[in-house]
Symmetry: C2
Subunit: 484 residues, 2 copies
């Protein structure tokens, strides 16, 4: 028997038929990312039922030199959960570990396993009149473990921060199978390096997140949602500054969509319509969230801000959602961009951030630059203006072949966009992570000091490079493996 056969036999014994399979039909769905951009192969699919099984599996992997690709909801944007083509790795799915272990309404925290889906967490919190203050388009599939491993952002970062700000403690299995347990619900703890911070955002390359304790907030008194049409991103930025100044304690979301994005979404969703009668160059979706009992005051404040912006000519038109159904409909437009845009053919997605004050200029200069440099392409930017983070997408020229353009001209386009971002001190990954998609770009444009430190930490914690190899950290040279 080969080492791989030995491993599979031992892993099957360990995890049982529900927890381990090499059946190609069962493995196949998890070898491609949801965008269909990356395709890999795998030796097997492991689906442990608990942390102890993950730990024992990692020990087996270490013994046999088998690499592991952790996977949550498989809805990542950078190919971080898709194995490479070698077929030598095991996909380690956390989906079976989906228990909410304890929800503490007085301490306002929840401990759950890594496979809990974001929407399920939202519902569990709501049942206790609490809320979990992070959401995003993929909430129906994204898991807590994946959200932590990618330090996910979403549409409420403006007020509540990224996933990092929600994590009070976590549990992870390290490369040698050791279990790091920091699920301790302490508000303050300075016993040395904050190891959980290293794992958050490390995309499964330093350890496998198996559980977390997360903060919860009191349920809100309700939200006020507005859809605004205006002429430029500079005007949107001015509106953002007004909202921040006049409603600092209630502003939760400030999203921008160019005209073209809204059109694509309306074409894609059969029953949707635009909240405004006319088309505008830019649309802004704003959400304010009130404390209990204060919804009327928040609504009045929103009306005041928008009325004064209309009077000043800053804004072309604006609509306030009259009820939750309308609010949901507005958000559905925003949350459907990725899906709608995928239907338009090949595109390069750039998840970029620049200093907030520079974003309007950056987009208004870079869009025409890209379209001029690459004739036939269409560039559009949408997303979290309030965080200085937009998704800068470049659609391929008509006739470009999906799966081919991305690997040829598309790469040239990405380098062009990333160069511009780097010139203004921005980030080539604001919230989607590096995965396999941007690893080489990180190697090309990243700070050499930071890259060297990342390599040192990676090899210190995973000397054989078994944890999600090929993702995130460029140029890892593992220690030679000791013979079994």
């Amino acid at each position: 028997m080969t080492d791989q056969d030995d491993f599979c036999s031992a892993a099957e014994n360990l995890l049982g038929p529900r927890g381990f399979t090499t059946d190609p039909d069962l493995v196949l769905p998890w070898l491609t990312d949801w965008r269909g951009r990356y395709h890999g192969a795998a030796l097997a699919l492991a689906s442990p039922a608990n942390t102890d099984e993950v730990s024992r599996l990692m020990k087996l992997c270490g013994k046999h030199g088998i690499a592991v690709v952790p996977q949550g909801g498989n809805s990542g944007m950078s190919g971080g959960a898709t194995p490479d083509a070698s077929g030598n790795a095991v996909v380690l799915s956390l989906r079976r570990m989906n228990r909410i272990v304890e929800l503490d309404p007085i301490g306002r925290k929840v401990t759950c396993e890594a496979g809990v889906v974001l929407q399920a967490l939202h519902e569990a919190a709501a049942a206790e009149e609490l809320r979990f203050p992070l959401t995003l388009g993929g909430k129906g599939s994204a898991t807590i473990g994946g959200l932590i491993s990618t330090n996910a952002g979403g549409t409420q970062v403006l007020r509540h921060g990224t996933m990092r700000a929600q994590v009070l403690g976590l549990e992870a299995v390290m490369a040698d199978g050791a279990i790091l347990d920091t699920l301790v619900p302490l508000k303050k703890d300075n016993r040395g390096f904050d190891l959980k911070q290293m794992l958050i955002g490390s995309e499964g390359t330093l350890g496998i997140v198996t559980g977390a304790t997360l903060r919860l907030l009191p349920a809100s008194g309700g939200r006020v949602v507005a859809w605004v049409g205006l002429g430029s991103l500079t005007a949107a930025r001015e509106l953002l500054l007004r909202c921040e100044a006049q409603s600092p304690d209630t502003l939760e979301g400030f999203e921008v969509l160019p005209r073209h994005c809204l059109t694509a979404v309306l074409d894609h969703l059969s029953n949707a319509r635009s909240p405004l009668e006319q088309e505008h160059e830019w649309n802004v979706l704003i959400e304010w969230v009130s404390a209990p009992g204060a919804q009327e005051a928040v609504r009045e404040q929103a009306e005041e801000i928008l009325t004064s912006a209309l009077d000043d000519g800053l804004v072309g038109d604006a609509a306030l959602a009259e009820n939750e159904t309308q609010a949901e409909a507005m958000w559905l437009l925003r949350d459907s961009i990725s899906v709608a845009e995928r239907a338009l053919g090949p595109a390069m997605q750039h998840d970029i951030s620049v200093p907030v004050a520079k974003m309007a200029d950056f987009v208004e200069q870079t869009v025409p630059e890209v379209e001029t440099a690459f004739p036939g392409t269409r560039a559009l930017a949408f997303g979290h203006l309030g965080d200085g983070n937009v998704h800068f997408h470049v659609l391929a020229p008509t006739g470009a072949i999906a799966g081919q353009w991305e690997d040829t001209d598309g790469k040239t386009v990405s380098r062009f966009v990333h160069d511009r971002v780097t010139e203004v001190g921005g980030s080539i990954s604001a919230e989607h992570g590096i995965g396999q998609m941007k690893r080489d770009e990180l190697a090309r444009l990243g700070d050499p000091v930071a890259l060297a430190l990342m390599r040192s930490v990676k090899l210190a914690l995973d000397p054989a490079n078994l944890l999600n190899p090929g993702k995130l950290v460029p140029d890892v040279d593992p220690m030679p493996r000791k013979p079994v």
Copy 2:
């Protein structure tokens, strides 16, 4: 010449006479911590003028195998900035690097060098109608670099978090002299491991923090400060829950002091008097901070909470500060505890946290346990009840000899207290860090998995163990040094 002589000569050439001295009189003041608990020796005192000099000094240190003890305001609580007795290390003072580099009022952030004193930062922010939301008793000496390296807490953590939550970016010099620069003012950046998080709270063992970009908040509309007398810590916890429920967006501080602490402070401060006429077993200092224009509403809310607590018999007496002078006077009582208590003779300080809900029971059980187990001692707990973090101090019996009791019976007392804390899932260092004071206790009681990970990271980033050796990380075996 010895290696040390070679080093001193090269360092003097590099830094000049203002930046490097071996004069024992000039070095002496920095060899003892402010509590007078730890005394060390040093080869020299280095005071670089900028980050480049720190980097070049570290390269020299690496070449000659000279250890470095970084020091900010020398007001730490765990001996983390005091060198050991060998006299082989250089004290690296960041005090000359005290420039506020840029304060951005619109982006609400400030970039400054590590040696900026906290109070100076408060004043710079206030001049722009902004505030920096972290403060503590040592604000007149504590530096930004020290606050970051120890992940300092203080009296506003309840609402605004520890130092970690304030750091948007930082600059640090690593063991090999490389400069890690993450001063980028981006709100979102997922380009790999968040390296700055490793440095925050690492007490100078992984790198030397030389600068930071910190968040600022809009200036408040003012504060409402109350002094409350009540009968038990359980009553204080009940009052805290009421404040959190009824004033969730304005409650910033909730500090407790037992009767004995207040007496010690009043004895120590010549002009101070108690805000309440009678003595109470426990005192609570509460601070609410209002948004601009909302001070009256916040004051009314505070009055309502306290009146209802008085009516219910939960509280014995309460006083609201009538003006800023009275508010300052109340805070002075709180901030003087450490200094006043030092005058009472030898004591063991335990900076502990337990889950917030368990704190009242923990203190009320452990105080008599300690006093029974160690006759003649007096135990008292004060501090940040709202964070589940109290300073649990045990005063030596009358007649105990300072500097001797702490190293003998005092150590037994500390082990006793730390055992109790560990039994209830608490932390032996909530906010003061480990330093040299608690390193052996961390080795004894810490999670072996976490300790092994800390060692791996430490040796990956500082293989020769030159950065603050002997602090924080137990049992570091450095790589053998290559000959020069």
